[in-house]
């Protein structure tokens, strides 16, 4: 055993020492050949990149993941929108643009195929902004260095009421669209706010993944998608685009080994990380809101699922064969489908265009899984109680329901409770995927903070600790609700 550990440690040391630390120099598009190049899944230049055989192409989910991959050395080159990473470079030492991409992409807002009226309204608004010079002012502010100095952003009160204009952003990064202290800012947010003003509707922004943003618009869960959406012919087949407001360049980013990374010692580093993660811009609010959201979805799904589980259990025990088969089909269906897939189906197919809030979709989805799991627990623990116990209760003069609740159930709970607790905990941890349908739970709160601070470690550690505490809390709640040892 000790030998194996030694071997692994020495291999790791060798691997970390063996790397030649030299800044990669790129001059033309062919220079990237032989390197590992990473970008974001679903972005406009992904097909071109992933079709190249001479590079090791990697795809990440978000811009902060991409940055982390570059910083941790998982990829040598990151290819992304120049404007976004320029904002990052100002905050983070150690990366630089190696080369600009050879083309720029016209960027616009993406609407559903049937929403031509909305597109025309937006186009009219944009033309007006270009004519009165507002557009130029916006670009001067956001697309240069100016916004970085502006510590406080002007808060725009929205007095409009009615159905909100639902925006799906896929890029939670300055200067495009970003969250500060619960409010969204950025050039694309400002433009869409102008559209909302024109429509007299409030603006509601939600964060999606790159791929699910398109689905959100297609299924009617969002009216418009933003986040540096390049206009490409494939996308034009399925969606409507507004007139482009700008053309963004792509760029190749690499680690800049010429800049010495500053080291302040581990304590200072942790302090800085906590400060960045929690204190600045009141980011702890994301954590608190996410915590409450995770807790709300978990507890409601557990309650609803426990009740549905009773129904499923009574179906399993039914005298009619077809009822039993129904429950068997349901359970094998649930057993055979990943939670994330069902969540997406429920959100984008079953509840699309219904106006049901994502929270409720998530609660229902997790309750469906939970019901299947607990119905088996109910069965196992109730079947473990011999029928003699029921007969003894009846013979003493208890009614049927008194016998069940006073004699059978307390014994079954003793058997089933550890299993039930395990089911609750796995549900709680399973809810970390609700970010896919734009719910800001703890995991997604961590993601949002990472997309502002570009620091992966501290938010992830925080999220880990919080899940740990939540698991402990759920365990304590169940212990509190469990029957006491003394029966009288």
């Amino acid at each position: 055993m000790r030998k194996i550990v030694l071997l692994i440690v020495s291999a790791l040391l060798l691997a970390s020492c063996g790397r030649e630390k030299q800044t990669i120099v790129l001059n033309c598009n062919d220079d990237i050949s032989g390197h590992s190049v990473a970008t974001i899944a679903g972005c406009a230049y992904e097909p071109e990149l992933s079709s190249r055989k001479d590079i090791n192409c990697q795809l990440y989910k978000s811009s902060s993941d991409l940055l982390q991959a570059l910083l941790s050395g998982r990829t040598e080159i990151a290819m992304y929108d120049e404007v976004v990473y320029n904002a990052i470079i100002r905050k983070e030492n150690g990366i630089k643009i190696a080369m600009l991409g050879d083309q720029s992409y016209p960027t616009a807002f993406l609407f559903g195929k049937e929403d031509s009226e909305l597109v025309q309204t937006y186009n009219a608004v944009q033309r007006r902004l270009i004519e009165d010079g507002t557009m130029q002012k916006l670009k001067d502010f956001w697309l240069t260095d100016k916004y970085a100095e502006a510590e406080s952003y002007a808060h725009i009160p929205s007095e409009a009421s009615g159905k909100p204009l639902r925006v799906a952003t896929v890029l939670p990064t300055a200067p495009i669209s970003f969250l500060v202290d619960g409010e969204w800012y950025g050039i694309e947010i400002d433009l869409l706010r102008e559209l909302a003003k024109e429509l007299h509707r409030p603006l509601e922004v939600k964060l999606y993944d790159n791929a699910s943003g398109f689905m959100a618009v297609q299924s009617g869960q969002a009216d418009v998608m933003c986040g540096v959406v390049f206009v490409t012919p494939e996308r034009q087949e399925k969606f409507l685009f507004s007139e482009p407001y700008h053309s963004y360049h792509t760029a190749y980013f690499v680690l800049d080994h010429d800049v010495q990374a500053q080291s302040h010692g581990i304590i200072a580093w942790i302090k800085k990380g906590i400060h960045k993660t929690l204190i600045v811009e009141n980011r702890w609010r994301f954590i608190v809101d996410g915590l409450l959201k995770t807790l709300k979805i978990s507890i409601l799904a557990i309650l609803l699922g426990s009740i549905l589980g009773v129904g499923l259990y009574s179906m399993m025990k039914s005298r009619r064969k077809w009822v039993r088969s129904c429950s068997a089909v349901y359970r094998s269906f649930i057993a055979g489908i990943p939670e994330l897939v069902l969540l997406l189906i429920m959100f984008y197919v079953v509840f699309s265009n219904t106006g049901v809030s994502p929270d409720i979709v998530a609660i229902i989805t997790f309750a469906l899984f939970f019901a299947s799991g607990v119905s088996n627990i109910y069965k196992a623990s109730l079947d473990a109680i011999p029928y003699g116990q029921t007969e003894a209760g009846l013979a003493l003069g208890f009614t049927k329901s008194q016998t069940f609740f006073n004699i059978v159930l307390p014994q079954a709970i003793r058997i089933g409770l550890p299993l039930y607790k395990g089911q609750c905990i796995s549900l709680l941890k399973g809810t970390s995927i609700v970010g896919y349908i734009a719910i800001q739970d703890i995991t997604r709160a961590g993601d949002i903070i990472r997309s502002r601070t570009f620091d992966a470690i501290v938010p992830l550690l925080f999220v880990t600790v919080l899940y740990f505490l939540l698991v402990w809390l759920i365990g304590a709640l169940i212990k509190l609700a469990s029957p006491k040892k003394n029966v009288l």
């Binding site: 011999p386 007969e391 009846l394 013979a395 003069g397 006073n406 029966v487 009288l488």
Partner: protein, 359 residues
């Protein structure tokens, strides 16, 4: 107290076939009676008991309990069960409760008795069955006999008017049967009305005021222990109480397989530990079938052994015969008298039977 008339119970098997366990049970149970229900396995003894408190509701007939028809729709069955206690073969103690909790749980929940008062009464009951020492022990730490005594105390705690015992000692080691039976004996002395399904014949004879002999889903014979055990009316009752084992042979003609018969008689004697009587039984068979009664074939021969009286008989039955086939002047009669200790000649409804006791 309980009047049962024309009670029947049919079980429907999942394969569609029906089994009639109780055919037509009629009986009257009066206060203070201790009734043992005996009979071969599978004749509906336990079913009758379980039908009385409706754990297995009967399919026909009527049961009157204190003058009320308990089979009526909407009859408060649980109220009736509070007065009709039951002790099970497999104890069925509540495993998640201590011994004392088992005893006082129902009075506390149903009679709403205060915990202190119930505790006091529960301990008194446990003392009565000799289990007060184990009041705070969980059932899993008790022996079978101890469990059954607690189960009896639990039953008594509801102050029932009658107690049904469903084979209370069948699941016990022989060493533990005694402690349970003495508790039931004690209850009988105190005048508790009881119905006991049991296989303990000596106990049934000593403790009961009445015995029901059940067979084929009916009460075959109903009488005092003396009647049932000493002079039963029905041969089936007699066969059961004397624990008579038998082997029957139909001798149809001259070509009968005597060798097979011989080996079966030998097996029978070995099985019931009467090997010393084997040679005499074979000699008698040979003498009767081939000599004395040869002309009366077809004959039905039986060899019987009572485990109670230890008597062994060989008997020969000729159907349709009214007078004895034995002639005093038959040349082999002396031989016959030498082989057996008693010759009984009895006419029956079907024919004439010669019974030979092997001494």
């Amino acid at each position: 107290m309980i009047t049962v008339s024309h009670l029947s119970k049919i079980y429907h098997n999942p394969d569609g076939s029906n089994v009639q366990v109780l055919k037509d049970v009629n009986c009257e149970i009066r206060p203070g009676e201790v009734i043992s229900i005996i009979g071969p396995s599978g004749t509906g003894k336990s079913t009758l008991l379980r039908a009385l408190n409706l754990l297995d509701p009967p399919t026909g007939g009527s049961i009157l309990f204190n003058g009320e028809n308990i089979l009526e729709k909407n009859y408060p069955v649980h109220k009736m069960r509070q007065k009709m206690g039951m002790v099970f073969q497999s104890f069925n103690l509540f495993d998640h409760m201590t011994v004392l909790e088992n005893v006082i749980y129902a009075p506390c929940k149903i009679h709403k008795e205060s915990t202190e008062k119930a505790r006091e009464q529960g301990l008194a009951l446990l003392r009565k069955v000799g289990m007060a020492e184990k009041a705070d022990v969980y059932p899993s730490n008790l022996s079978g006999g101890q469990k059954q005594r607690v189960a009896i105390a639990r039953c008594l705690a509801m102050k029932p008017e009658v107690i049904l015992f469903d084979e209370p000692t069948s699941a016990l080691d022989p060493t533990m049967v005694g402690e349970v039976l003495s508790v039931i004996r004690q209850l009988a002395k105190e005048g508790m009305t009881m119905l006991i399904v049991t296989h303990e014949m000596k106990f049934a004879r000593d403790v009961s005021t009445r015995i029901f002999y059940m067979q084929d889903g009916i009460i075959y014979e109903d009488g005092t222990p003396q009647q049932i055990f000493e002079s039963p009316v029905h041969s089936a009752t007699k066969a059961f109480v004397q624990r008579i084992r038998k082997e029957v042979f139909q001798i149809e003609g001259k070509d009968f397989d005597y060798l097979d018969m011989e080996s079966r008689i030998r097996q029978f004697c070995v099985k019931y530990n009467i090997a010393d009587k084997c040679d005499k039984a074979l000699a008698l068979t040979d003498l009767m079938l081939k000599d004395i009664m040869a002309e009366y074939i077809p004959i039905t021969e039986r060899i019987t052994f009572s485990e109670l009286s230890m008597d062994t008989f060989v008997d020969f039955m000729v159907e349709g015969l009214e007078t004895s086939p034995l002639k005093a002047d038959h040349p082999s009669m002396d031989k016959l008298r030498a082989l057996c200790s008693e010759i009984i000649e009895e006419p029956t409804s079907r024919g004439f039977r010669i019974k030979l006791r092997i001494g």
